[in-house]
C-alpha cells in the first residue's frame, strides 16, 4: 500500500485532492494522510515518524503557503523562523525539514501552489528534485504522483 502525505490547509481542497487521487490512482492502493498546519507537521508528524516505526510516506504533496496552527486555548506560539519567514514559506520550511532527515531525504516531493517559479525563486526556494504543480493544473496531479512513485521505486 502506498502512502501519500498531503500538507494542505485549505479545507475546500481536501475533498478535491482525495477525489482526484482516489479516482485516478485507485490501482495503486494509496493511503492519503492529510496534515493541515505547519505546526502539526513539525511538532507532531515528524517526531512520530522519527521515534516510531510509523510507515514512511512514498510521496509528499505540499502546499507552499500553510498557516501555522489552528485556534486553540493551547495553540503553540510561532517560532522565530516562522515569524520571520511568514506563512508564505511554510512549505519550503517543511521541505527543508524533510531533506534533513535521512529516512525522508529521497522521498519525492510535489509542490502544489498558486505561485510561479519566479515567485518561488524570490522566496529562496531550493527546488532541486522537487516537482511543481500549479493549482490551476490540479488535474495533472495523479499523473505526476504516478511518475514520481515509479521513479522512486526504480
Amino acid at each position: 500500500m502506498g502512502h501519500i502525505v498531503v500538507l494542505e490547509d485549505d479545507a475546500s481542497m481536501h475533498p478535491l485532492l482525495e477525489s482526484l487521487i482516489t479516482k485516478s490512482l485507485g490501482d495503486l492502493d494509496l493511503k492519503i494522510e492529510v496534515i493541515e498546519t505547519e505546526a502539526d507537521f513539525r511538532m507532531k508528524w515528524l517526531p512520530s515518524v522519527q521515534n516510531t516505526k510509523k510507515q514512511r510516506p512514498d510521496i509528499f504533496v505540499i502546499d507552499v503557503m500553510l498557516r501555522w496552527t489552528d485556534p486553540s486555548p493551547n495553540q503553540p506560539p510561532r517560532p522565530p523562523d516562522v515569524i520571520e519567514g511568514g506563512f508564505m514559506r511554510a512549505g519550503l520550511r517543511c521541505l527543508n525539514l524533510i531533506r534533513q532527515r535521512p529516512s525522508l531525504f529521497n522521498t519525492p516531493v510535489i509542490f502544489l501552489t498558486t505561485l510561479t517559479k519566479k515567485n518561488l525563486d524570490d522566496l529562496g526556494a531550493n527546488l532541486e528534485a522537487v516537482e511543481i504543480l500549479h493549482k490551476g493544473d490540479i488535474n495533472r496531479l495523479p499523473g505526476q504522483i504516478r511518475a514520481a512513485l515509479a521513479a522512486s521505486r526504480r
Binding site: D9, D10, S12, E36, L66, T69, D70, Q75, R78, F87
Partner: protein, 793 residues
C-alpha cells in the same frame, strides 16, 4: 633774637616751605627761597650728566631747576664741569666765590654763559656742592647783580641749604610721583567703573602728565591685536605738530620704533643735540641699532609752538616708554619737551613713566579683553538671530514645490558679511561633480570681477591644489594672515571653511578681509558654524527634492497599480457574478429544496460566492484607498431574506472550514422577528460583504468544537446583528486595533494563511456608509462579540 635763633628759624621756614611744595616746579620755588634767604638775585641747581664720569673731559652739568628775581628765562642749560665755577665747587668739594665773573678764571666763558651774564646783569657768583642720595654730586650757584654786595667767602646758611636740598628734592619728587600715580590710577578706575570710552581715558592721562611735567608733547600709541598686529596707532597726543606719523611699525626706524622693537625705554637727554656728533655716538652706544634722525626740525618747531626765539628754546628731553600687556608690547607712552624747569628727564622720571606705562598696559589689556568679549557676545547673539532667520528662510524654501538652494546660499553669504566684522570679499564655491571642479556659485563684495566669477578649480588629484580645493578635500578650515593675493590685492587675511554635512562635502566659503591682517578667534568659529549650517541646508534641500520626486513616482505608481487592479477587478467581477448567478439559478431549478443539493455542488456554489466576495472586497478596497467614502444604496430587507442570507453565509464559511475542527453555527431566527413590519434598510451587496467578513473571522478564529451564535438585537435607534464566537481572545487594548487596515494580533497571525487583514476595516466603512457603526467587544472568557448596528426607523 640771636643770630643762631634767626639762623635756625630761617632753616625751619625754608624746610616748611619746601615741604609744602606739591608741584614738580616746586624745586624752582625752593631755589627761590634759597636765593631770597641768601640775598641772591637768582639760583641754579646743577646736576651732572648721568652718562659721563665726572672726571671725564666731556663731563657736563645740566640745570635741574632755577629761579631769578623777576622770572627771567634761562637761555643756557648746560656747563662744562672743567670750565665753570659750579664745576670747581664740585671738583674741590667746597664753597667757591667769584665776585667778578668777567675776570674770574673759573667762571664759564662760553657764548651762552656771557649772554646769560649780560641779559640778567649778574656779575657775582657763589657755588657750593650738593651731594645727592644716589652718590652723584651736583651744585647750586647763587648770583648777584652789581648793585648787590659781594658774596662772603663763608656762607654757612647757604651750605646748610645745600645739605638740606637733596632730601627736600627727593621728598618733592616722591610726593609728585605718588600724586601722579594716584591720579592716573583714579582716572583708570573711574573709566573701569563707568565703562568709559578709552579715548576719554587717553585724553585724561595725557593731560595729567602734561600738567605735572608742563610738557609740550604727551602721546600714547597703542596696538589693537584684534585689528592689526605690529601696527601702533596714535591713541591721543597733546601736540599734533610733534607727531610725524600716526602709525608706527616695528620694522621702521626711529626712537619710538626702537622702544617697541627692543622692548626698552629710550631716554634722550636733549633732542636739540641730535646734530652733535658726540651725542649721536653716545646714543648709538646706549641704544644699539638706534637710527636717530627725526626730520621734523625740533628746535624750530618748538620755537614756533612756544612763540619764542629759537635760541631761547628750552631743553627738549625725550622719553619713549613701552607699554606692556603680559610680555607683549602693546603700545608706547611718549613725552617730550618741558616748558618750564626742571626740563630734563632723568632715571627718576624714567622709572615713574615705567610705572605709569604699566598701569596703562593693565588697563588696555582689560579693555581689549572686555571689548573682545563684548564683541564676541554681540556677534554670537546676532548670529543666533541670523541663523533663526536663515532657518525660517530654508523652511519656506523647503515648502516650495521646487526648493532652490541658490537663494539659501546667497542669504548665507550676506549673513557671513553681517556676522564677521571686516568680511568684505566673500564667495561660495560649490562642487560640480560631473566635471570634478569647484565653481563660484555666489559672491559678495565690490572687488569681484566677472573674470574672477568665471574661475573654476579642479579637484582632481593630479591638478594644482589651491587652498579652496585643499579645504574641500580635507573638510578642515584653513586661514592665511598677511595674505598678498593676486586676485584680490586689497585683501589682508583669508579664511576658507568647508560647507559639509555628514560625510559629504558640498563646497567651501572663502572669506577675505581688507581691514586687518588676521581674523579674531570667534570669527573663525562663526565661519565654521556657518559652513556647517549651509551644508545641512544643502543636504536638507537635496533630501526634500529627492523625497518629493520619489513621492511623485510613488503616487504615479500607486495610481497605475490601482487602475490596473480596478481594471482587473472589473474583468473578473463580471464572469464571477455571472457564474455564481447561473449556478444559483441552476440549483434553484434542479433542487427545489436546498438540502437535496449534493455537497460538491454546494461547495462550488460556496466557492463561487467566496470568489464574488473577494472580488467585491477588492473593489471596496480600491475605492477606499483613493480616500473616497462609500455610498450605500439601501433597500428594505425583511426578516426572511436576512435570515436566509445569514444562514447561507454561515454555511459557505463552514464548508470552507476543516471538518476536523467541527465548528458549528446557530442563527437565532426568532431574534429577527422584530424586522417583520419594520424591515432593515441596507445596501444588499454591502450587507452581504459585511456579514461575510464578520462570519469569516468568526470561523477563522473559533476553537474546535465550538458554536458561533448569530442573533438580532434591538438597541434603539439601531437594529443590531451580533456575531459571537469562542476562540482566540481579543484583549481590551487591541479593540481599536482590529478595525485598522492590515492589523492582526500575534495569535491571529498564527492561525491565518492567506488574507490581507482588511476584513473589519471594510466592515467599519460599510457601517459608516449606513450611518451605523461597528462594535467590537473585548473578549470575556474567550467569547468575542461583534455587532453591526444599523439605523432602524
Amino acid at each position: 633774637m640771636s643770630i643762631e635763633q634767626t639762623f635756625t628759624q630761617t632753616i625751619v621756614e625754608f624746610v616748611n616751605s619746601a615741604l609744602n611744595q606739591k608741584e614738580r616746579t616746586g624745586i624752582c620755588d625752593i631755589l627761590g627761597e634759597i636765593a631770597k634767604a641768601t640775598n641772591a638775585y637768582g639760583a641754579i641747581l646743577w646736576e651732572p650728566d648721568p652718562y659721563i664720569l665726572l672726571d671725564s673731559k666731556d663731563a657736563r652739568l645740566f640745570t635741574a631747576g632755577h629761579w631769578f628775581d623777576g622770572g627771567k628765562r634761562l637761555a643756557a642749560h648746560d656747563l662744562s664741569i672743567k670750565k665753570s665755577l659750579a664745576g670747581s665747587a664740585i671738583r674741590e668739594n667746597r664753597l667757591v666765590v667769584a665776585n667778578d665773573i668777567a675776570q674770574d678764571e673759573q667762571t664759564a666763558k662760553t657764548d651762552d654763559a656771557r649772554r646769560f651774564y649780560t641779559e640778567h646783569g649778574v656779575v657775582k657768583c657763589q657755588a657750593a656742592p650738593v651731594h645727592f642720595a644716589d652718590a652723584s654730586v651736583g651744585c647750586i650757584t647763587l648770583f648777584r647783580t652789581a648793585e648787590q654786595q659781594d658774596f662772603a667767602e663763608q656762607n654757612p646758611l647757604f651750605l646748610h641749604f645745600c645739605q638740606l636740598l637733596p632730601g627736600l628734592r627727593d621728598s618733592l619728587h616722591h610726593k609728585v610721583s605718588l600724586g601722579l600715580i594716584d591720579k592716573v590710577k583714579d582716572i583708570l578706575r573711574h573709566a573701569e567703573d563707568q565703562s568709559e570710552d578709552p579715548k576719554a581715558v587717553w585724553v585724561a592721562i595725557c593731560k595729567a602728565l602734561q600738567d605735572c611735567f608742563h610738557l609740550i608733547e604727551v602721546s600714547i600709541f597703542l596696538e589693537d591685536p584684534s585689528r592689526q598686529i605690529g601696527e601702533f596707532r596714535l591713541a591721543h597726543t597733546t601736540c599734533t605738530d610733534y607727531v610725524a606719523r600716526e602709525t608706527y611699525k616695528e620694522e621702521e626706524p626711529g626712537l619710538t620704533n626702537w622702544a617697541i622693537l627692543h622692548r626698552q625705554s629710550v631716554l634722550i637727554w636733549d633732542l636739540r643735540y641730535q646734530r652733535r656728533p658726540k651725542e649721536r655716538v653716545l646714543m648709538r652706544d646706549l641704544y644699539h641699532d638706534l637710527i636717530w634722525g627725526d626730520p621734523i626740525g625740533i628746535e624750530e618747531l618748538t620755537a614756533g609752538l612756544l612763540q619764542i626765539p629759537t635760541e631761547l628754546v628750552p631743553p627738549l628731553s625725550f622719553i619713549a616708554e613701552p607699554i606692556f600687556s603680559g610680555d607683549k608690547v602693546r603700545g608706547v607712552l611718549r613725552c617730550c619737551g618741558a616748558k618750564t624747569a626742571p626740563y630734563y628727564f632723568t632715571r627718576r622720571e624714567r622709572d615713574l613713566f615705567a610705572v605709569i606705562a604699566s598701569q596703562l598696559g593693565q588697563f588696555w589689556t582689560k579693555r581689549l579683553a572686555r571689548r573682545m568679549i563684548d564683541e564676541e557676545n554681540r556677534a554670537w547673539n546676532k548670529l543666533m538671530l541670523k541663523i533663526i532667520a536663515l532657518n525660517d528662510s530654508v523652511n519656506s524654501e523647503v515648502r516650495e514645490s521646487t526648493p532652490n538652494i541658490e537663494g539659501v546660499l546667497h542669504k548665507g553669504l550676506t549673513t557671513t558679511a553681517d556676522m564677521i566684522h571686516g568680511a568684505e570679499i566673500i564667495d561660495i564655491r560649490l562642487v560640480d561633480e560631473a566635471k570634478g571642479e569647484l565653481f563660484v556659485a555666489s559672491t559678495y563684495g565690490e572687488d569681484w570681477t566677472e573674470e574672477n566669477r568665471q574661475r573654476r578649480f579642479s579637484i582632481r588629484e593630479d591638478a594644482l591644489q589651491t587652498l579652496g580645493v585643499e579645504v574641500f578635500r580635507t573638510g578642515v578650515m584653513k586661514e592665511i594672515s598677511n595674505v598678498q593675493g593676486l586676485a584680490f590685492p586689497r585683501a589682508k587675511a583669508l579664511m576658507v571653511v568647508p560647507i559639509r554635512s555628514s560625510n559629504r562635502n558640498y563646497g567651501v566659503i572663502d572669506i577675505r578681509t581688507t581691514e586687518f591682517t588676521r581674523f579674531p578667534e570667534y570669527a573663525k568659529q562663526m565661519a565654521k558654524l556657518l559652513g556647517q549650517q549651509l551644508g545641512l541646508y544643502h543636504e536638507l534641500i537635496d533630501t526634500v527634492v529627492g523625497l518629493r520626486k520619489t513621492e511623485q513616482q510613488l503616487i504615479e505608481q500607486t495610481r497605475i497599480t490601482n487602475d490596473a487592479f480596478a481594471n482587473w477587478q472589473h474583468q473578473i467581477r463580471g464572469p464571477i457574478d455571472q457564474a455564481e448567478f447561473r449556478l444559483r439559478e441552476s440549483i434553484r431549478q434542479d433542487y427545489p429544496h436546498y438540502g437535496d443539493v449534493p455537497q460538491p455542488i454546494q461547495f462550488q456554489s460556496g466557492l463561487l460566492r467566496k470568489a464574488r466576495q473577494a472580488s467585491r472586497s477588492l473593489q471596496l478596497f480600491l475605492h477606499l484607498s483613493k480616500g473616497d467614502a462609500l455610498k450605500a444604496r439601501p433597500i428594505f430587507i425583511n426578516r426572511t431574506d436576512l435570515t436566509k442570507l445569514l444562514i447561507q453565509t454561515c454555511l459557505d464559511n463552514q464548508l470552507l472550514t476543516s471538518k476536523r475542527r467541527a465548528v458549528d453555527f446557530h442563527v437565532k431566527a426568532d431574534s429577527f422577528k422584530n424586522l417583520e413590519g419594520r424591515p432593515l434598510s441596507a445596501d444588499l451587496d454591502m450587507l452581504e460583504q459585511a456579514l461575510n467578513n464578520v462570519i469569516d473571522n468568526a470561523f477563522k478564529y473559533s476553537y474546535s468544537q465550538t458554536i458561533i451564535d448569530v442573533q438580532g438585537i434591538v438597541e434603539p435607534p439601531f437594529f443590531c446583528i451580533a456575531v459571537s464566537n469562542i476562540g482566540i481572545p481579543l484583549p481590551q487594548g487591541d479593540v481599536e486595533n482590529v478595525i485598522k487596515r492590515g492589523w492582526r494580533a500575534e495569535q491571529a497571525l498564527a492561525v491565518v494563511g492567506e488574507g490581507a487583514g482588511i476584513g473589519l476595516w471594510v466592515v467599519d466603512h460599510i457601517m459608516r456608509a449606513h450611518a451605523g457603526r461597528l462594535e467590537v467587544l473585548p473578549t470575556a472568557q474567550r467569547r468575542t462579540r461583534i455587532k453591526l448596528l444599523f439605523p432602524w426607523k
